[in-house]
């Protein structure tokens, strides 16, 4: 069984503050994050 955490945050990155969806593994290590409004997806490939 796999456990993951999905967070919705407001975050500032590159001088821009917006809503982000962040996916983390069960240890709290980030897997990916995505700007919710812009639809940008950044996969960190951990």
């Amino acid at each position: 069984m796999t456990t993951r955490y999905e967070l919705e945050i407001t975050g500032k990155k590159d001088d821009e503050e917006q809503l982000w969806e962040v996916l983390m593994d069960e240890t709290g290590k980030m897997i990916s994050f995505r700007a919710i409004e812009a639809g940008m997806n950044t996969n960190l490939n951990y």
């Binding site: 796999t2 999905e6 919705e8 945050i9 709290g28 980030m30």
Partner: protein
């Protein structure tokens, strides 16, 4: 003759470009529609799974979601003071469970790790919503819901 061939090649390239653009646009489209349904409209196997996993009658809101991937069923309920959302495939197989989590209820080491990850990627942040998601076999998920609350 060469000019005619060049025109043909340009035409083929333009057509391929149009096809690729259409394919990409279709690949990105995601059509989802949710509507509330009655328990009587949910497959019997789904109802049974919920009874086994959550042990006993609970107030459950049933939702059917239609998307380009097909139909899925979702049960939304409150369990041990937390909101749970259980998703099932059209065939009635449980796919995942999501539960709301209060960040303050997390283990200190885990919370520290989450904060470290966020600090590494964002100049500043504020957590608005935190959910825990379980995926796995039907039996494993059933056992997990029976023996422990979501943290």
């Amino acid at each position: 003759m060469i000019q005619e061939m060049q025109r043909h090649l340009l035409g083929i390239c333009a057509l391929l470009g149009l096809l690729c653009t259409d394919h990409i646009a279709n690949g990105q489209s995601k059509v989802e529609r949710e509507k509330s349904i009655k328990a009587s409209e949910v497959p019997a196997s789904v109802i049974e799974w919920m009874k086994d996993a959550y042990e006993g009658p609970k107030r459950i809101r049933w939702v059917v979601e239609e998307s380009d991937r097909g139909i899925s069923y979702e049960a939304k309920l409150k369990h041990q003071k937390q909101w749970h959302s259980v998703e099932f495939s059209q065939a009635g197989d449980v796919e995942d469970i999501e539960g709301s989590v209060d960040p303050r209820s997390l283990d200190g080491v885990l919370l520290e790790s989450i904060e470290t990850s966020l600090n590494a990627s964002f100049e500043r942040y504020r957590i608005l919503k935190l959910q825990r998601q379980w995926t796995g076999s039907s039996d494993d998920l059933e056992d997990a819901m029976r023996v422990r609350p979501m943290q």
